[in-house]
């Protein structure tokens, strides 16, 4: 399930800016552990942000997105009090969703 994300969403002049911080290892699959064995790749493959039911961003990540991924984007619309939902899934089949309220 992973740890909770940190989602911030703020509306200014009719545009909502969303900033997301995700807790994830984003292991590349190229690193070796202390014993010299390759640590298997483990990374978020897809992340989707919704405003209510409407998808406002869908992204695909490769393993070269940094550990604890950060994402910021803007969309037209949204008002204070609306829900923003962010969901991700990774290459091991794990997934998680968190919500925030537009401020």
């Amino acid at each position: 399930m992973g740890n909770p994300m940190k989602i911030r969403a703020a509306n200014k002049d009719g545009v909502t800016e969303v900033k997301v911080l995700v807790s994830h290892e984003m292991e590349t699959g190229q690193r070796k552990d202390a014993a010299g064995a390759v640590v298997p790749a483990w990374f978020i493959t897809e992340l989707v942000a919704r405003h209510g039911d409407k998808t406002v961003l869908s992204t695909e990540f490769g393993p070269s997105v940094s550990k604890n991924p950060y994402l910021a984007f803007k969309f037209k619309g949204g008002s204070k009090g609306d829900k923003i939902t962010v969901s991700w899934k990774d290459n091991k089949g794990d997934s998680r969703s968190d919500e925030a309220t537009i401020g």
Partner: protein, 155 residues
């Protein structure tokens, strides 16, 4: 090393496994939506990546900007952004020329979402970063070099 990585990707992930998990009800179908573009993320060179993204040979455009510092103090976390004033942008991608696999991330932008995204990527070494955008069905590109520097104490 890269081969091993590809094997892991083949066996441990990909659409097939996710499909299976979805069928088994382990992950909700609502989350297992799009197909992760394995061919594009597995591609090594810039040319192969662009091909896998269906971008062919994109034209350089002054209306696409890659933002980020000229110098990254550490390659593990390099802040990069893409912005563009081109009309009707439906897709943005970030590519790192000298990484083992060039493609870092793709962003699908529904109508109403601005062509202005920021994220953080890993860079193995100093490299050109490319921003690819799809505007009115056509692809455009811009580039910026980011220098990755070493730390003092030697890791």
């Amino acid at each position: 090393m890269n081969n091993q990585r590809r094997t892991v990707l083949k066996s441990g992930s990909g659409a097939a496994l996710l499909g299976m998990l979805a069928a088994a009800g382990i992950i909700t179908p609502g989350i297992a939506l799009a197909d992760w573009n394995k061919a594009a993320f597995d591609a090594k060179s810039m040319a192969d990546t662009l091909k896998a993204l269906g971008a062919g040979t994109p034209a350089d455009s002054k209306d696409v900007q890659v933002t980020g510092p000229d110098i990254a103090e550490n390659g593990a976390v390099v802040p990069v952004g893409v912005a563009s004033s081109l009309p009707n942008i439906s897709m943005v991608a970030i590519l790192i020329e000298k990484n083992p696999n060039a493609l870092a991330a793709t962003f699908t932008l529904p109508e109403g979402t601005e062509a202005n995204v920021q994220t953080r990527v890993k860079m193995g070494q100093t490299s050109n970063i490319y921003a690819l955008v799809k505007s009115d069905g056509k692809f455009f590109m811009a580039t910026k070099e980011i220098k990755v520097t070493l730390g003092g104490c030697g890791g």
